[in-house]
Symmetry: C2
Subunit: 577 residues, 2 copies
């Protein structure tokens, strides 16, 4: 994986480079921060010619270690105006790996907008193909047409009509090849960046195998096995396979951090309909099997990606994740699982982030556009996003935009990005995260949910230090190109990381140096944001969350800005992952 | 003028203070910057409880010097997220003066939103009165109902439905008392700030005369006369009285800086319909008098505020200013003067900034929402803003918002605020102004149009230094509370200013110190913006203006960011006003 392909989407010219030794050490989220800092003017217009869409493999993408099929996408976010890395499962990453491609960088924008084109990658390089028949097609239809045109075995990244219309909540879809799983690099509006480049889809045809290079293949294989065993031994893994991320619904509801009715309450009785066990029971009844999990990337041993079948056996959505279910369910006072699943599927089809979309509909309902609980109205709104009606254009540009449109200041967002399904008043650690993360409100950057076991979620204590620790971990996982659910292995045996870096690359890194690498990546991202004018100093937790107590705990978010910004003085922990 | 009234719009409590000696030296635009820096958290939400709506008299408001009826309104702008001062003619200022009121500050927001209330001021103080019958009423109807309720002789500030709906392009109207002139503190969304306070109108009943205090009344009177004579002697004054600001249409068109078809050209043949002489001729034909000018504040000797009568004698709009006419005319490829006047009047009625609204409609037309040149469609759009339809909510939130909604990056704005009728490619000095002004794209902060006579508008040379000079002058005029059209008097005889400060207040300021005061005010504003995260470093001239040559001169905006930011190193000129 040394090949970097740069494509100028205006001229169609592709340039193939081999990564220098130095650049080979930089991958995934780290690579995105690196390219942004070195090649992208921080104040540029995110949908203009100076932004780049960066696709980068993680450090260990060409190993067989579980979850390494994930791939990082990034650029300057049109939603946050800062750095954005969003990674996704699906089949694209591993296909790219086979061709030995480390990264693809899309540069410039076409002279005439609203181009519908495919970027086609194979062992001969890259070419851009006009595909007007794909314009404004839903994502599943797009994938079907692409497979008809380019064969079943391709890897696909594509956008829905929302991305083509440059809507700020547009994500980039990455399906599996069986037409079951629809994974997403959903957050930060990267689908609009891709749309601005006039690229509807990126197709990779792995017509040649470039063998991976390992310094010590046997040791890599040993580590792979050890990780797989640690995962299997982890008591949470079985739940993840059975329930997916809906595993945490019951706890989140009980603790009172589950966003309900546009973040006006922290618990919702109807959520009992889709707790892990309830969901599993429903799936069992409909499919004859209570095990809903499938792998989102080839070869994953966790297989948390669940599938919701309809009563008639048709697939409603795959997967239904905790954050999506809550933003499209309790946050809208919708309790019917099938409706939630359909809403999620519609988001996948029009190509928007479920979190951003659920939050936007929540604010619209809070503004009187429809009644809370009206599932049909919610479906209609998502369809309108795809159609680009005026209401659709409001909602499709995200929750902050929707709040401004309706003059509603109850907007659950930081840095312009919607909060995921953890109200910061009910889990203050995630408030710290949203306020200080380089990514804006984003749970994947260092979710504090796991700290509930040992730290009072309503108290201030340790939240800032914990978040610092978790954010460094998040930066590392996203750079390695592995799923956050691999963390228990590294928490249990941090030395696995040391051995892995050595066996794969021959790098002699201590565990301390690996942790410092994580902090360094955050520093790079902070520098870009600072230069872009969106430093965390200016991006605050919404005022209503400091004023309105959140039932059932009636807590407000009360960490001061000074307490939050002290996060950068917290020493880097080097004793644990 | 020592009284400061603070009103908490949540509790209704009013507090009356007497300005300290120090605070008496601070007025108008300076007062707004002072209060923002001392009392308003720069990162606060502009429509939340921590922002304040600040109404402040200029330093010389209680003199009879021409144009001193202007009054400054300000706060943190929801459009630019930075400091905002917008001043207006009309009858409110002089009524407030009679009561000896220096400033009114509205604090907090009501617990329940969408309140329609009047803040009533008289010699007894302030009270808030519920007026649900005024909800969503057009501005002229609002004024009529207020005069029915509170008498003919009141001073009024009010908002239209756009302000009540918290739209970011909403301004604050200030009518005369005859129902002719509708003046506006239009820019920066201050109407939304007023709406967020649940105040539809502020009514002042000057039921008592607090006599003004002058150190040397005779000298003040001498200066007043000298200024009036200088104005009358100024060759431009007659044109201003005849044509209003339409005086500059012909020159702007000829030079090629007149925004046409969403800033895609710099000249428009149809503008010949409303050059100063053409306008005057039309008025003569319809009214029997070619003199269209009336005073926008009581006692103004310039009287540039024109009135457009319809063919049947009814009033179409008063006044029709250059910037409004161009943004609602050429920028939309509309050449019919009556249509332009009706569009302007509709903006006044729904309560939005004509510049922001014309720019927003331009981007909407550029996005295919309607055809360029379709006046009926444009009227319908403004009506929809008032109604709060989905399209209306998009347009009513301004040009940047509209560009995002339609995925159109040809957005003529800086710091989120629409450019007035001087394309920065055709007049580079105004590009410098837009890029570096504390106010965002705003010609009143230091219009370089006057420099065309002696400096190549397409060249880079002197533009930065000139803008520095003009911006300091602008800050001073807005602090003194006088119209920009008073500047020729002070340019001709700078010592008038020295004498005026001394005669009115007894302050022994040199002319150099007066110029330094202007620079100090800009520094205060810059500090607020810096702390709010909207420093000029992050607010750039739109990329399309650096890429797309502007016919007929085919110039692009080519001052580098470094050249622009060097403005702060330009020494303060103390040799001229």
């Amino acid at each position: 994986m040394k090949t970097i392909i740069r494509v100028n989407v205006r001229t169609g010219a592709a340039r193939i480079e081999e990564a220098s030794k130095d650049l080979q050490r930089i991958a995934g989220r780290h690579f995105i921060a690196h390219i942004l800092n070195n090649e992208v003017e921080p104040t540029c217009e995110p949908l203009g010619r100076h932004n780049k869409l960066i696709i980068s493999q993680g450090l260990f993408a060409d190993t067989n270690i579980s979850t390494t099929g994930k791939i990082s996408l990034g650029g300057k976010s049109p939603l946050t105006n800062g750095v954005k890395e969003s990674n996704t499962g699906g089949y694209f990453g591993k296909r790219l790996t086979r061709l030995g491609i480390k990264a693809v960088i899309l540069e410039d924008i076409p002279d005439s907008c609203a181009r519908t084109r495919v970027l086609y990658l194979d062992s001969n390089g890259a070419q851009i193909i006009d595909t007007p028949d794909l314009q404004y097609k839903y994502v599943s239809e797009t994938c079907k047409l692409l497979q008809e045109k380019f064969g079943k075995n391709i890897g696909i990244l594509c956008i829905g009509p929302a991305g083509e219309r440059l809507m700020l909540s547009a994500g980039i879809a990455c399906p599996d090849n069986a037409g079951v799983q629809m994974r997403y690099a959903a957050r930060g509006g990267l689908g609009a960046v891709m749309g601005s480049k006039g690229i509807k889809a990126i197709v990779v045809n792995a017509d040649k195998l470039v063998p991976p290079e390992f310094i010590d293949p046997d040791e890599v294989n040993n580590i792979r096995k050890e990780i797989a065993e640690l995962i299997i031994a982890d008591p949470k893994s079985n739940n993840r396979k059975l329930y997916g991320t809906l595993d945490i619904v019951a706890m989140a509801n009980q603790v009172g951090l589950m966003p309900t009715k546009n973040f006006s309450s922290g618990s919702f009785e109807g959520a009992n309909n889709f707790t892990g066990p309830a969901f599993s029971e429903l799936v069992a009844k409909r499919s004859g099997s209570g095990r809903s999990g499938t792998p989102c990337v080839p070869g994953c041993t966790i297989q948390c990606s669940n599938v919701l079948p309809a009563a008639n056996g048709d697939q409603v959505v795959a997967s239904l994740q905790y954050e999506s279910a809550v933003l499209l369910g309790p946050n809208l006072c919708i309790e019917d699982v099938d409706t939630i699943g359909e809403l999620n599927n519609l988001c996948n089809e029009v190509g928007v982030d479920t979190i951003e979309c659920g939050a936007a509909i929540g604010v619209a309902m809070d503004s009187g556009v429809a009644e809370f609980g009206d599932g049909q109205a919610a479906k209609d709104m998502i369809i309108q996003i795809g159609e680009g009606t005026y209401l659709g254009r409001i909602l499709g540009n995200g929750v902050k935009f929707t709040g401004l449109a309706f003059g509603n200041r109850r907007v659950p967002a930081v840095k312009g990005q919607a909060m995921p399904a953890y109200d910061p008043r009910g889990l203050k650690g995630n408030g710290v995260l949203y306020a200080t993360s380089t990514m804006g409100a984003d749970h994947t950057a260092g979710n504090a949910f796991e700290t509930i076991k040992y730290n009072d979620p309503l108290g201030k204590q340790n939240q800032v230090a914990n978040s610092r620790h978790l954010q460094i971990r998040g930066a590392l996982l996203d750079t390695m190109g592995v799923c956050i659910f691999l963390r228990p292995s590294f928490v249990k045996d941090p030395n696995l990381l040391v051995r892995l870096f050595k066996a794969k690359f021959g790098w002699e890194l201590t565990f301390k140096e690996i942790r410092e690498l994580g902090a360094h990546i955050l520093d790079l991202e902070r520098a870009f944001n600072e230069n872009a004018g969106v430093s965390e100093h200016y991006q605050r937790i919404p005022e209503f969350m400091r004023e309105e107590p959140l039932p059932p705990n009636n807590a407000v978010f009360d960490l001061t800005q000074e307490e939050l910004e002290a996060i950068w003085d917290v020493p880097i922990r080097t004793d644990s992952f």
